[in-house]
């Protein structure tokens, strides 16, 4: 991250709000930039189901021209009884623009989605991520997340 971007992330006010349909192009583009995969249908389908149990939050920051620009987003869903698990808030995605990281935006998104899950009546939140993504895992752990009682298993289908 260049120093100008770092300074902007640390000093510019960040606004969190519920996502709107007109945020989707920027959300899809940021996700594609970070993951290398564009998943327009996936995001539009998730957005269509947004609500109390499927919070969709965006973080905005004022750009150099003063116009608001997407700084990050988080989306999750309360799921119940899959794999025998009692109701729990799943964080499906929590992404911050790489140029704006280290400014606390991810932590604000994390706190906000946790609050939405609390309001939806669940007492636990969960996520899943690549085992070798140590940086993202460190972020979630810094927010108190630990390995839970489940483990993911998979196999190649011949």
């Amino acid at each position: 991250m260049d120093s100008a971007a770092e300074s902007r992330a640390e000093t510019a006010p960040v606004t969190l709000r519920d996502g709107r349909e007109d945020d989707l192009p920027a959300v899809i583009a940021l996700d594609a930039r970070v993951t290398g995969l564009e998943k327009e249908r996936y995001w539009r389908e998730l957005y269509s189901r947004r609500g109390k149990e499927l919070p969709f939050l965006v973080a905005e920051i004022a750009g150099p021209d003063g116009a608001a620009r997407l700084a990050g987003f988080s989306i999750g869903e309360v799921r119940a009884w899959e794999f025998g698990s009692p109701p729990c808030g799943w964080v499906f995605a929590l992404t911050v623009d790489p140029e704006l990281r280290l400014g606390g935006i991810g932590s604000r998104l994390m706190d906000a989605i946790a609050e939405r899950f609390r309001e939806a009546g669940v007492k636990r939140m969960r996520t899943m991520l690549a085992r070798d993504n140590h940086l993202l895992m460190a972020f979630f752990r810094s927010h108190g997340m630990m390995a839970g009682p489940y483990i993911e298993l998979e196999k190649e289908l011949d």
Partner: protein, 146 residues
């Protein structure tokens, strides 16, 4: 998993110093707090110093200071100074039977365990450890009277 004694001592000393970044702390104070042999600790502190994790402070009182960033330094950064957590992963077969299909299947299972261990240790920073320590303190103190 079990950590070697030197590794545990190194983690205690690093946590102690990183948790008090403004202060220099003497080896004897750390040794006393954790019930560690001062001789053993002195050797560990030399290794931590050579690795750049801590620095010694000369002058009145002397002691040591943490030299890193607690939000970036992970448990693995300290542990791997003293031991190889990944075991024999990807190393050529050297135990009897390791080259056999049974030995390779066993290696596959052990590698899975090692990979999970590595992911855990690489993702827990000293700063996260401070939060876990604080929670332990609160649990030990029990619920507030009221």
């Amino acid at each position: 998993m079990r950590l070697q004694t030197a590794t545990r001592i190194a983690l205690y000393a690093t946590l102690e110093l990183a948790g008090n970044p403004e202060n220099q702390i003497t080896a004897s104070a750390i040794a006393e707090k954790y019930g560690i042999s001062i001789n053993h600790l002195a050797k560990v502190m030399r290794d931590l110093g050579r690795a750049g994790v801590v620095e010694s402070v000369r002058g009145a009182g002397g002691g040591f200071r943490f030299a890193g960033n607690a939000k970036r330094t992970t448990l693995m950064d300290v542990i791997q100074i003293f031991e190889n957590v990944r075991g024999n992963a990807r190393a050529p077969a050297r135990e009897p039977g390791e080259a056999t299909p049974a030995g390779q299947a066993l290696r596959q299972v052990l590698d899975e365990i090692d990979a999970i261990t590595e992911a855990t240790l690489r993702s827990i920073t000293l700063d996260t450890m401070f939060k876990l320590i604080q929670r332990q303190r609160q649990d030990a103190a029990g619920p507030a009277p009221g």
